[in-house]
Amino acid sequence: MPTIGLFHSTVRAEEKLIIRAAREKKAGIKLIDIRNEVFNPLHYRPDFDIALERSVSTVKGGYATEFLEALGAVVINPSGVARICEDKFLTSLALQKTGVPTLKFAMAFSLEQAMAAVADLGGFPVVVKPPLGSWGRMLAKVNDRDSLEAIIEHKDVLGSPQQKAYYLQEYIQKPGRDIRSFVVGGETICAIYRTSSHWITNTALGGKATNCPVTKELSQLSLQAAKAVRGGILAIDIIETSEGLKVNEINHTMEFKNSEEPTGVSISGAIVDYCLQKINSND
């Protein structure tokens, strides 16, 4: 029986959906809590046919992936994909380089440089984000120089070295929602609108998920974005702007528990199918 090694830390609803989908499809699934493993290349014996990396901790997931790949195992998503997607600046660079429509962005390391970056981006408001953050944490919409100064001073005093790299984006006036599309193995399988009265619409923060029809434009943009980061299994966050759809960022260990019901698509099933397909093509 082909077996998927599910590398996880905290088991979220998503992991449970994947486990259930694997059992329904009669695929083997081995739950491996990365916090219980010793990753020593001299002693580690992989006993699965493919690894699915689903760690909530980006750092631990990243090391697990590099380790398994070094032993010759196939990991979904591969380390190259994870490295780009976990970092918003690297994602923006990859999108820009390949001509995928995306928001204007810049990185700066001091207040004066950040002020110059704001001018380049077309002025305030801008959005300042930690390049390695997620779940909408520590995003700031900055309306003027005073607020920018305050935010940068906070980060300089309290932040980790990572927090002292200021990733800035133009602020987009969106229609009270954004779009998240799901790409699995070169296909845009479904998409949701995330609607909220707050400009941060993450469903983790109380935004509402509803079905978003996958138009040709949306599908193509999603596939282009996925190709830019060489994925895999990805959630593409897209914003509707006055100039059309633009990619905001890409997630490589995506959450989707609120998306199966409104879209009617089994995202967990597609993930398992993709892993099984990969096992077969690598044989």
Binding site: T10, E15, L31, T58, L132, W135, R137, N251, M254
Partner: protein
């Protein structure tokens, strides 16, 4: 007769349920069906977030869940 049957079914069902004690407030915690190790649940009494560390026959070891870390996300 019917009542006895219902009672037996109820007893049987409750026996197959997982029970544990909240490490924070000592309340009894009933775990949902299909719960997995490493899953985070919350105590219905004190609302603390708890990690299911280990599942045995009809009980589970619970510990207080860690705070969200800076590198957590999707």
């Amino acid at each position: 007769m019917l009542i006895i049957k219902k009672v037996i079914i109820y007893l049987f069902k409750s026996m197959s349920k997982l029970f544990s004690i909240c490490p924070v407030c000592d309340a009894q915690v009933v775990l949902a069906e299909g719960v997995e190790e490493s899953e985070i649940i919350s105590c219905s009494d004190c609302r603390c977030r708890l990690v299911v560390e280990k599942i045995e026959k009809n009980t589970a070891a619970l510990t207080k869940a860690p705070e969200v870390e800076e590198d957590w996300g999707e």
